[in-house]
Amino acid sequence: MQEPTFLILTALADEARHGYGVMQEVTALSAGRVTLRPGTLYAALDRLVAEGLVAVEREEVVASRLRRYYRLTGAGATALSEESERLAANARVARRRLRKAGVTPA
């Protein structure tokens, strides 16, 4: 799972969000490192919906603007959890090696 996908799933973990909400949350989660563009975001959301990791929760029309809210599915939560475990395990190994080498991780 690539970082943008991980961040999109993470952004949807606690609540359903619309496209711009996901973009803002991804920027915040990554401390500004990852900035999703609209076309890229919806291409990713389409794929995640197709894979069953994300679903459309509801649609709202506010001031004649369409907002579609996306939420994490059960499968999406499982995938995110597994990926988190994998990343955490990798991080533990890296820290252990660094300590062994006498380097203190920041």
């Binding site: 943008p4 996908t5 973009m23 076309g39 919806y42 579609r68």
Partner: protein, 273 residues
């Protein structure tokens, strides 16, 4: 022009109206306070919107990027064709032949260059075949079949246009075999698209690369080294355009190989970027 108007124009790149509205909302939100959307946003929306409009696979699927690339190749090929047509037509009218009877030939020559010249025909065939292969591998069978039929129609048009140029002998058996081969090839290609779509889901990508490489080798051998003697007879009747049609085999094999190789080496994209 207001920000909304500019964003609305960009969002029109998407064929789906609801998706266009959704993208418009997001574009407006993310560019609030600006007079124009950011260049990077505009490029990104255009890229993904056009990819969707061109009927390529959804970005992020296994062969999505290959499909996008093939679709863009088709558009580029058509643009090159259009530019060539304009240039040749302009030249024909700028330097009209003295003998009015030569006019049809001049015009036909322009058409010939556009539709039947070896390089142009190969370019079109390669682009269309690439798109057909990619579409089939991505499971878009109807689109793949449409592209195959378009490629066959192009081949037939090339044949007919070439025959109208200059003096040609009566229809030969070699030409008859060519027409039959084109027809059979088209039917087979249409039938095979479904199988390609199914196989793409089951067969490992490196197998595709191997199969395409073998097909390429065989096709190039047949087309390059034995076309006239083996396929069209020894009379030497088959000339440039026939060779162009003959290279359809080769040009089918090349993009198939490239498509398969690219699909084999390109890492499955997680998101479009």
């Amino acid at each position: 022009m207001t920000l909304e108007r500019r964003c609305r124009l960009l969002a029109r790149a998407y064929p789906d109206r609801e998706r266009a509205e959704e993208v418009l909302t997001t574009l407006l939100d993310s560019n609030e306070g600006r007079r124009s959307p950011r260049v990077a946003d505009a490029f990104d929306v255009l890229r993904h919107g056009l990819a969707a409009r061109l009927g390529s696979t959804p970005a992020g699927t296994r062969y999505g990027r290959v499909g996008d690339a093939a679709s863009v190749a088709v558009v580029l090929a058509l643009l090159v064709q259009a530019a060539t047509a304009v240039a040749i037509a302009a030249n024909a009218f700028r330097r009209p032949p003295k003998d009015p009877w030569d006019w049809p030939d001049q015009i036909y020559t322009g058409v010939y260059y556009v539709t039947g010249h070896q390089v142009a025909a190969a370019l079109i065939a390669a682009a269309v075949a690439s798109a057909a292969c990619a579409a089939a591998m991505a499971g878009r069978v109807a689109l793949a079949r449409l592209l195959v039929l378009a490629a066959a129609a192009g081949g037939a048009a090339t044949f007919l246009v070439e025959r109208s140029l200059g003096e040609r002998p009566s229809f030969t058996s070699g030409q008859g075999r060519l027409v039959v081969a084109l027809g059979i090839g088209t039917v087979l290609a249409v039938l095979l698209t479904g199988a390609v779509a199914r196989a793409a889901r089951m067969v490992p990508r490196w197998w595709w690369a191997l199969a395409a490489g073998a097909a390429l080798a065989v096709a190039l051998y047949v087309v390059r080294y034995h076309p006239h003697e083996l396929l069209w007879g020894r009379t030497g009747v088959a000339l440039t355009a026939y060779a162009a049609v003959a290279t359809v085999l080769g040009t089918l094999a090349v993009p198939l190989a490239l498509t398969a190789l690219v699909a084999a080496v390109v890492r499955r994209p997680e998101v479009a970027d």
